[in-house]
């Protein structure tokens, strides 16, 4: 069964303390992996799409990387405004690109000043 697992469920960091969030997937064949950010009381907001192992994308303090089994969202010198829940979603080769994604449950990131 295709599955997406995010870890940890929650992560508390001090401002400036770098770390990584993990999205591991067990799927038949990866077509694309998506990262979204979700603020409390808001809908998810798109961050990155990764398509193949070895690919990397960067945006401000965030960098997303992809291997054949997992993706990491690295956060460098985070600020309190980076606090949010980060969601990962996967599309596989067998899926209809019109709608089918498998979503992880998310990692809640808290950055303390």
């Amino acid at each position: 069964e295709d599955q997406v697992t995010q870890s940890p469920e929650a992560l508390r960091l001090q401002e400036g303390e770098s770390s990584s969030l993990n999205c591991s997937y067990t799927v038949s064949g990866l077509r694309g992996l998506f990262w979204y950010r979700q603020d409390p009381g808001k809908g998810p907001e798109f961050l990155f799409t990764l398509y193949s192992a070895g690919e990397e994308k960067e945006k401000e303090r965030l960098k997303a990387t992809l291997t054949k089994k997992e993706s990491f969202l690295h956060i460098t010198a985070p600020k309190p405004e980076d606090s949010a829940t980060y969601l990962c979603a996967v599309q596989t080769d067998l899926m209809d690109s019109n709608y089918q994604l498998i979503w992880g449950a998310g990692t809640k990131l808290i950055i303390k000043p």
Partner: protein
């Protein structure tokens, strides 16, 4: 820039009552989606639409109906609400399919069924 707008933002219903959630987008997107988000779970797709006048079932369609009479609007209906439908409902839209382009989400409707 309004983007995707959902109404209402909050609602409390009694078991057996019906209601309609409204989603409106101003980006001229073809594709629209309804998701539910429950604690400890990933987003789950309820229904989706690939264009005006079309609808299709997603992963968890039971107990819900949808309509897309106008391109910019996507309605989600609960005919007879059940406590298991207590959730946060998100509408999203995209120019092409979810696997091809980022989705734009509304801010959600928080629905409680007593």
């Amino acid at each position: 820039n309004a983007g995707v707008t959902q109404t209402p933002k909050f609602r409390v219903l009694k078991t057996g009552q019906s209601m309609t959630l409204l989603c409106a987008q101003d980006m001229n997107h073809e594709y629209m989606y309804w998701y539910r988000q429950d604690p400890g779970m990933g987003l789950r797709l309820i229904h989706y639409s690939v264009g005006e006048g079309t609808t299709a079932k997603g992963e968890v369609p039971d107990g819900y109906n949808v309509s897309r009479l106008k391109k910019q609007n996507f309605l989600l209906g609960l005919e007879s609400a059940a406590p298991s439908q207590t959730s946060v409902y998100f509408c999203a839209s995209s120019y092409r399919g979810a696997g091809n382009q980022p989705q734009h989400f509304g801010d959600g409707t928080r629905l409680s069924i007593l």
